[in-house]
């Protein structure tokens, strides 16, 4: 008889454990998992995303949390390596039993974590990865927050290059990471098909590289009308500086990563004239009241951080964490993880300040009511007198990419 009682106890414990993995216990904190590169060449992505999210969490919890429960975040360094990200995702889902995951990783890693989250039926809100393969997971559990899909970035880039810049040919200098390679290929195809702009040469570099002279000498020889750069800002800043050292005066058009004051610090005067694409509503150094307020709060929480922080990933995940909290609020006090997904799918043209009086509205309005791709607005900036100045309004690209409707995604 005793053995049956013991078995019944074990069974009850198992049921309890399973229950807590899918149903938020009203008495406990809500645990959110976070991943991003916190070491290595892409560390500024993961650190920024983490710090932005933590600032939002502090504000959310100070305002009473969600339905009286505090949100806690457990952070993991994925090193921007898919193999490490897979282990981290499995740990968050199976061992930590997080209620949802917030992504601060680069594209290659966000794809892996997205797939693991879909398999583990854990809501995943990607905050900074942009690869099409993230949305192509086509899972009800995978969302893309304040960031923007590469296909939309490419549409916007191509329209700007073809319509705002008078160029007949381009050269490409891109990093070898997933995001840069996919974006470079997509933009090349679009500008050729729509505007008959030729690609003269395409050169690559690795994350962490410090010398780019061979690539630039080849590009200089091809004499392009425009140089397109795709890659994270640290290497891009080094490369831009070296391009000017080698006498290259051609206009350089950078991607979304390069809209970063850190680029100006490293590249210095060589960055003058650079055009970069940008996504969040506000940018570092913006004199508008929301960004001034955001920077003041950020500097108060992180007083020792350098001048180029917060950067756009801080902004992305500050807003995306609020979106996650909004989903938790809409899901109700005894929500399951599935309830959270359904609640997030009700978000439409939502600003971070909607329902959160203490928030600062620094990201674009998010919508998950039609597809899981939350944002598609972007703009272009140019470096003028050592600072970024807006040259186009934030608009959705035309045509916009067709993302699958929510009801067609797999549970």
């Amino acid at each position: 008889m005793k053995i049956f009682i013991k078995l019944a106890n074990v069974f009850a414990l198992v049921i309890a454990a399973l229950s807590t993995s899918t149903v938020a216990n009203a008495a406990e904190d809500i645990l959110i998992g976070y991943h991003g590169p916190m070491t290595g060449p892409a560390s500024w992505v993961g650190l920024g995303g983490r710090d932005g999210a933590l600032l939002a969490l502090e504000e959310i919890n100070a305002a009473g949390g969600v339905h009286g429960r505090m949100i806690k975040m457990i952070s993991y360094d994925d090193g921007a390596k898919p193999s490490e990200a897979e282990a981290v995702a499995k740990k968050m889902i199976s061992s930590d039993k997080v209620f949802a995951i917030l992504g601060g990783g680069v594209s290659a890693v966000a794809i892996v974590v997205g797939n693991e989250a879909a398999r583990g039926k854990t809501p995943y809100v990607n905050g900074s990865g942009a690869s099409p393969k993230i949305m192509d997971i086509k899972s009800r559990w995978v969302f893309s927050g304040a960031t923007i899909d590469v296909r939309d970035i490419a549409e916007s880039e191509a329209a700007f290059i073809g319509e705002a810049l008078d160029v007949k040919n381009v050269a490409i200098m891109s990093a070898t990471d997933e995001f840069s390679q996919v974006l470079a290929s997509t933009v090349t195809t679009l500008i050729k098909d729509r505007y008959n702009i030729d690609l003269l040469t395409r050169e690559t570099y690795n994350p962490g590289d410090t010398d780019f002279s061979a690539q630039w000498i080849k590009i200089r020889k091809s004499n392009p009308d425009l140089i397109l750069m795709f890659g994270l800002y640290v290497e891009a800043a080094r490369a831009i500086r070296q391009a000017r050292e080698l006498g290259i005066k051609t206009l350089i058009k950078g991607d979304t990563s390069m809209m970063n004051n850190g680029l100006l610090t490293i590249a210095g005067p060589a960055a003058e004239g650079l055009i970069a694409t940008y996504i969040p509503a506000y940018f570092n150094g913006d004199p508008s009241p929301p960004m001034v307020e955001f920077e003041a709060r950020y500097k108060a929480k992180y007083p020792s951080y350098p001048e180029d922080r917060p950067n756009y990933v801080d902004v992305f995940n500050y807003g995306t964490m609020y979106a996650l909290a909004e989903g938790l609020k809409r899901a109700g006090p005894d929500a399951t993880q599935k309830d959270l997904v359904l609640a997030l799918e009700t978000i439409e043209e939502w600003n971070a300040t909607d329902g959160w009086a203490g928030a600062v509205n620094v990201i674009q309005p998010l919508s998950f009511n039609q597809s899981h791709n939350g944002n598609r607005r972007m703009s272009h900036f140019r470096v003028v007198n050592g600072a970024f100045a807006k040259i186009t309004d934030f608009v959705e690209p035309v045509p916009s990419t067709k993302f699958p409707a929510n009801e067609t995604l797999d549970w």
Binding site: T39, I217, L246
Partner: protein, 291 residues
């Protein structure tokens, strides 16, 4: 494409000068101690961070900051040698080599704990505006690095030829036992070697910082510096210089005439070829040990 060859060579020398500085640091330590210092890349990182501190916190101008970095990096080398390597002086070289790996990892992570991996930047006082000479572009900043390399090689040549300490270091490199019998403090020579190697790494760090920014990954220049030292013979300072500049130039030629991907592997191909044809390196002498 023939017309870009002069630019490839000049830019290759500029990049290779930095590899050579890192390589010389490795050679200095190896010559005296027979230890390959895998933490030499972190000496570069430490030098860059020390320079950043002097310039941004102490508001020191760039050139005095270079001198301060050399001194502080030498002190850093001395301390690390006393704390991490001196206790292992009787251990097999392999143990100490592993210790250098551990020190490198520790140093990088201590920096991360203090300042995280967020990149920093400093501006050097030497102009980065390019000059054009017969179609070849070069900046005063890059010329300065080449000149620094030349000055370092010159100082080291004089030091090892004429200075008493330099002669003692050469004697120790030839035979530690014989040097000890002649009254030379071998452990003292070890300390000086680590200090000099670390100072050279720090110098490379402060020189490269205005050009590429500062983060904990600056130590990646260890790899081309390491290849430069091996190609040169690992015990020869002129060898490290020739090795570094050769690698710099070959990387450029490979990048332009083959592909930018091939640029990343050419130094390792050269390394394998040199080791197959002349295992002691271009300037090294075969060592025969009695067993």
């Amino acid at each position: 494409m023939i017309d870009v060859i002069p630019q490839l060579i000049v830019s290759g020398i500029a990049a290779g000068s930095l590899y050579a500085l890192v390589g010389i640091g490795l050679v200095l330590i190896y010559k005296a101690t027979e230890i390959v210092n895998f933490a030499q890349g972190e000496s570069v990182t430490v030098g860059a961070y020390i320079g950043w501190l002097f310039i941004t916190e102490a508001h020191l101008p760039y050139l005095p900051a270079i001198l301060a970095v050399i001194v502080c990096s030498a002190l850093f080398g001395l301390i690390v040698e006393r704390v991490a390597y001196r206790p292992l002086i009787k251990s097999p070289p392999f143990t100490v080599i592993l210790a250098t790996l551990a020190v490198g990892i520790m140093v990088k992570n201590i920096i991360r704990l203090i300042w995280q991996d967020t990149p920093r930047g400093i501006s050097g006082s030497i102009s980065a505006t390019p000059m054009e000479i017969w179609g070849v572009y070069i900046t005063p900043e890059r010329i300065a690095i080449m000149l620094v390399l030349a000055v370092v090689v010159g100082i080291l040549a004089v030091f090892f030829r004429y200075a008493k300490l330099g002669k003692a270091m050469r004697a120790t490199a030839q035979s530690q036992d014989a040097a000890a019998l002649m009254g030379i403090s071998v452990s003292g020579i070890f300390s000086v070697s680590w200090a000099m190697g670390s100072a050279l790494g720090g110098l490379a760090g402060i020189l490269i910082a205005p050009i590429v920014g500062i983060n904990t990954e600056l130590g990646v220049v260890l790899i081309p510096g390491f290849v430069a030292a091996i190609v040169g013979g690992f015990s020869s300072i002129p060898g490290a210089v020739v090795g570094g500049i050769t690698i710099g130039i070959l990387e450029n030629f490979a990048g332009v005439f083959v592909s930018s991907t091939f640029k990343q592997v050419i130094s390792f191909i050269v390394l394998i070829v040199v080791l197959m044809i002349k295992p002691s390196g271009l300037f090294g002498k075969p060592i025969r040990k009695m067993v």
